[in-house]
């Protein structure tokens, strides 16, 4: 996908009309940034700080989901459209687990929730991982050597299946998620930074750092990088690529499951098709940062979170989705390798 786009892009950008379009796009982006900046200045710093906090918290959730897209794409070049639904499923599974671990709104904000909540996180993450590994085994692995479009369409189908299951399970309406975290916060510069915000940022941050270290240091991480570059050669090194790919799906789903749980705890509501829009946002984040690049996904998530929050906070929130998809298109056309995407010799 990126390859053929690159051809189109080169032909496009180098034509004289392409230069004019380039200029217009740059002017339009600058204009939008200017308008936004005027509004930011107009509204004063404490509101800005509030929006930033919200943006970083949101961005942390997008980043967690974006990581799964980017890891799976990085290893088998599949855009796993069902990934956003695993995020939702994580939220649904955890809301089901909460009472089993004795958690309900009456315990909100007490220190007693810490251990059971940790257990809910771990069990949810493991279940999501197991489900994603099964999906890969049943739906994607048989198509490993099929034309690219086949697994892609299957992924879209898998997304419908998951949303269908969640629809049957919880119905079409918003599912309330108990408010367990303290609703207190700190006032800094006129803005309130909630314990919830800090919770989201810290938990997502820890997960991402652990992942980055794991992938850069572990044997599995090495196997993942090798598989991404040449599957046959990787087998010849003594690495089971099926296991490596399954592990990648597992890790991606573990992060999505954590993301869904964090989302529930933060927003206190879920809905069966949340993964559709959240997934598209996270996917945009992954492309923005450079699909296949782990740091890129984290950065892209953060930026998409911030842009969403800024737009919601200062402009018409009905237009936010349009802006996000405009970014997706601009990145794909003008810089398909994303912000941190690598430019590499492919001999």
């Amino acid at each position: 996908m990126v390859g053929s786009l690159k051809q189109a892009r080169i032909a496009f950008v180098e034509a004289p009309i392409g230069r004019l379009v380039n200029l217009l796009v740059i002017l339009a982006v600058l204009y939008v940034i200017f308008i936004l900046a005027m509004k930011v200045v107009g509204q004063g710093p404490s509101y800005f700080l509030q929006i930033l906090t919200f943006g970083v918290a949101n961005g942390a959730i997008y980043a967690l989901v974006a990581l799964g897209y980017t890891m799976v794409y990085g290893i088998i070049e599949l855009i796993n459209f069902a990934h956003g639904d695993l995020f939702t499923l994580g939220g649904f599974i955890s809301v089901f687990l909460l009472p089993i671990f004795g958690l309900d709104a009456s315990k909100a904000g007490t220190a007693g929730i810490i251990l059971p909540l940790l257990a809910v996180f771990i069990v949810t993450m493991l279940i999501c991982g197991a489900i994603n590994v099964s999906i890969e085994r049943v739906a994607y692995r048989p198509l490993r050597r099929a034309p690219r479009l086949a697994p892609l369409i299957t992924a879209v189908g898998m997304s419908f299946v998951l949303e269908g299951v969640m629809f049957l399970w919880k119905g079409p309406f918003n599912v309330p998620y108990p408010n367990l975290l303290p609703t207190t916060g700190f006032v800094i510069g006129g803005a309130t930074i909630g314990v919830k915000d800090i919770f989201v940022i810290v938990v997502a941050g820890i997960l991402m750092v652990v992942l980055a270290l794991f992938v850069s240091r572990s044997r599995l991480g090495k196997a993942m990088r090798a598989t991404a570059q040449d599957q046959d050669a990787t087998e010849l090194m003594g690495i089971d690529i099926n296991r490596t790919i399954a592990a990648t799906f597992f890790i991606g789903a573990v992060l999505a499951g954590a993301g869904g749980t964090i989302f529930g705890l933060y927003y206190n509501t879920m809905v069966f098709d949340l993964g559709f829009s959240a997934g598209l946002f996270a996917f945009t984040a992954a492309v923005f940062g450079g699909i296949g690049n782990i740091q890129g996904a984290a950065l892209g998530g953060l930026l998409i979170g911030l842009i969403t929050a800024l737009w919601d906070g200062y402009m018409e929130s009905t237009w936010t989705q349009v802006i996000i998809f405009a970014i997706l298109i601009l990145v794909l056309v003008f810089r398909p390798t994303g912000l941190l995407g690598m430019r590499v010799p492919e001999k």
């Binding site: 570059q229 046959d232 050669a233 990787t234 087998e235 010849l236 003594g238 690495i239 010799p345």
Partner: protein, 236 residues
């Protein structure tokens, strides 16, 4: 019983039959060449031994163990190193990391530094380029790295698929010299080559493959002087 015994393997790609009852064997210490024209099935033979492809009938026995149905990642552990057609390096890893990938399945981690030194000794060029991305190496350097990477697993049998392809004559010489050196240090080699005269020159024994069947076998010298081989593969 040799170190490797391939007995009557039939291999298909879909409905196309690539190998028809191929049998060959390799004894300890030998260099065995497998020659044949394009599409004869040389690469398929190596891939089937490696477990990247599988035979529908026939058997592959290595070191006393039936590996016919064993997946590639376990065949390496059994002791077969394979430098595949087209080199197949990890282009976004540096030279040193490519060598380290070769050690992935090894149990004796302690012996690794000595083997790195050995590979750098065989190919001083690689030592100079140890931090360079494999994808940016020249063709000859890539071939050296592909051989070096296969050696890093300390294989009991080394299989090479056209190591001299696309190399300048002088580099060809180097590669063939190093192959005899590796063999002299105790590693048997199964060598697939288009450069038949060079391959037969260093090989103890050789097989000729034509459209999926072995049509001739003998010592390297015998085949070099065989009229059929001379006409078909040596351009005489």
């Amino acid at each position: 019983m040799g170190l490797l015994d391939v007995a009557g393997i039939n291999v298909f790609y879909g409905r196309v039959q690539a190998l028809r009852g191929v049998s060959l064997s390799i004894n300890p210490g030998e260099i065995v060449a497998l020659i044949g024209s394009n599409g004869a099935g040389k690469t398929t033979t190596l891939r089937t031994i490696s477990g990247l492809n599988h035979a529908t009938t026939g058997r592959v026995v290595f070191d006393g163990r039936d590996i016919t149905a064993v997946p590639a990642h376990d065949v390496v552990r059994a002791g077969i190193g394979h430098a595949p057609e087209g080199r197949r390096l990890f282009p976004r890893m540096i030279v040193f990391d490519n060598l380290m990938m070769g050690t992935y399945a090894r149990k004796d981690r302690a012996g690794i530094p000595a083997d790195v030194a050995r590979v750098y000794d065989l190919f001083p060029r690689l030592k100079e380029r140890t931090k360079q991305l494999a994808g940016t190496l020249s063709g000859g350097e890539q071939q050296m790295l592909a051989i070096g990477r296969a050696l890093m697993a300390r294989p009991k049998l080394l299989m090479l698929d056209e190591p001299s392809l696309g190399l300048a004559p002088i580099l060809c010489e180097t590669i063939f010299r190093v192959l005899t050196e590796i063999n002299a240090q105790g590693t048997p080699i199964l060598l697939v080559e288009q450069n038949a005269s060079k391959a037969l020159d260093i090989a103890h024994r050789a097989y000729v493959l034509e459209t999926g069947s072995i049509v001739q076998t003998g010592t390297g010298k015998e085949l070099l002087s065989s009229p059929d081989v001379q006409r078909a593969y040596l351009g005489m």
